[in-house]
Amino acid sequence: MTIYNPQTSTVNYKDKVFLVIDDQASTRQSLRTTIQNMGGVQVIFGANYKDAITKLKISRRVPDIVLCDFNLEEGRDGQQLFEEMRKSKLIYEHTIFMMVTSERSYENVMSVAELSPDDYILKPFTPDLLHLRLDRVAAKKIFLKHFYIAKLKNDLAGAISVLDHLELTSEGSGAYRFLVKRNRAETLLLANRTADAIRHYEAILAIHPFPWAKLGLARALAVDKNLTKAQKLIDQVVEENPHYLSAFDAKAEVCQAQGDFDTAQRILQETVNKNPRNWSRKQSLAEAAMLNNDEITARSVMDDLLKNSLVTNDANVTDRLNLARLAIKVKNTHAVMEALSGISESLFESQEENDQISILALKAAANPSVHAPELERHRNDIISLQIPPLLLGIDVVRAGLATKDIELATRMATTLMKNKTTRMVSDELSVIFTAAKQRAAFQEILRLVN
């Protein structure tokens, strides 16, 4: 290992676009000076949360490096901004995001966050320390560049083959060994190659018992429906590392997969209480509460989310979807359309396929005469989904029944029942089919599944 010397930096900052977000003009200026000393010339400034989002939207180019202060005005923080930027795809996975904070407690935020920025730096810091930290992150991003590009194009097979290639390089088998292995296991899981993902995680664990690898293995086992083993593994991680809060998220996921929505909700509620600022965990809590038929909690969590996250016009799609789901449950079709109307065409296009399907399904369920044809166009995509997420499945069942596509509703309900044969799911589906006067169709599903 050689000792760092900023003079030997190999990153060319001249080509990079920086976005600096801080409410203090003096801090923005001093960061600009630091960036200039590193060779950077293209710097955009954001004075607050809203300004940063606006600047991102009007910028011709997605910035390469974001330096963001953690404490932003109006009760919002850099972590929220980071999560919103990533989820609304205003920045890429390969965009460097560095949190700048004067609070040591930021470590607490980081240890419980689902999405972590690439790094954070504690004020006060010297220009050299920032330079070192940026060089380090940039080197990693450059190393994985082609992997990120393939992933961005949703070419998971391509992404995996990039990693295969990288593993043969000296860095890929040296300093970045586990970075490659970890990304590969995660991508395999994403590509539904569950058995391969399990094998990869086991191989990593044979080298060293990393808590993240144990969690990854548990998640893969859960997808593979080996829920008992998954739960045992997570319990072990929780017991061995009581401070590693990501394990609690995984525990809730497995409970949910087992149909134990009550325990899932309780774990998420406890974890949310520990860190009320984590946006995505609150979304999980709202969803767990919804599945648990605890509409009061779901509603109050959603209200809180909407109140605190609707800074931009494109509200977070997950929040809008969940709001629409709550509304359709009580047959308030007007509220469903209102929740979904804020999703512009371009925002819709940038969503993952699953969310796109849910948006179409909920619209069709609320207003079948107008939206049935759109759903019809995606019918084949929907049917080809191997393991549909539970909430999406329920959206499709509702849509199928509303648009009189009973076959679609029945097929989806059967898949759900085969995947998760829990009381909760079958009760929920039973209520939905009965309300649509399709009791007989549901009896038929029950007969088929049992």
Binding site: Y4, N108, M110, P124, H208, F210, E240, H243, Y244
Partner: protein, 211 residues
């Protein structure tokens, strides 16, 4: 009562250091030849000191739960070396023996403080060189800092600091390290700090073990 005394000592010794830093910074700025660089170093070191005092306060007052994250160990060492140098370490040569290069679950800022302190201390006593070792032993991460100085005094004990604040840094470091706990089989293992004699360089050996 005793804990309160310790806390008061930590705060008093910190306030003392910060006061000195600020005084030096002021005189730098007032002196005819304005050396802003030196003044900046002083002000920065005052700010770092205040930040450390705050975390020591939280640690002792609230028995703080440390935030644990997976942190890359060589990166952690590299950061600590840079920071030790920036806070005015001499130019002794530092070599690193790295047998482990992965992430470890630890409280980054706190362990960083422990390492920066240990490096500054090694630097103060080293004649020409410092050597850092990173390896795993019995499922523990072990970080060693060797120096070629006179070694630690025989009567140096890691315990509670005295009323003048001697041994304060070590006391806090031990406290932070012991907060790193992990179950190995039936046993709950705690992190530890050891001071000894370096076989390699003949001077002091600081050993940090994290489960």
């Amino acid at each position: 009562m005793t804990e309160n005394f310790i806390l008061a000592d930590i705060l008093a010794s910190g306030v003392h250091d910060v006061k000195n830093n600020l005084f030096s910074a002021e005189s730098q700025l007032l002196s005819g030849s304005v050396d802003t660089e030196a003044a900046c170093v002083m002000i920065r070191s005052a700010s770092i000191r205040l930040s450390k005092m705050l975390s020591a306060y939280h640690l002792l007052r609230h028995d703080l739960q440390l935030p644990m994250n997976m942190i890359n160990v060589p990166d952690l060492i590299e950061d600590a070396i840079l920071q030790a140098k920036e806070s005015g370490a001499k130019k002794v040569s530092i070599a690193i023996n790295q047998a482990f290069g992965e992430d470890w679950l630890l409280a980054r800022e706190e362990i960083n403080d422990v390492l920066v302190n240990a490096l500054q201390n090694a630097d103060r006593f080293a004649k020409n060189q410092i050597e850092i070792g990173i390896y795993l032993a019995e499922q523990n991460l072990v970080l060693e800092i060797h120096d070629d100085g006179p070694g630690f005094p025989d009567d140096l004990k890691i315990g509670k600091p005295d009323l003048k604040g001697h041994g304060l840094g070590l006391f806090i470091a031990t406290h932070i390290t012991a907060h790193h706990k992990r179950r190995h089989g039936e046993q709950m293992v705690e992190g530890s700090i050891q001071l000894g004699k370096s076989e390699r360089l003949g001077g002091g050996l600081f050993t940090l073990r994290l489960p």
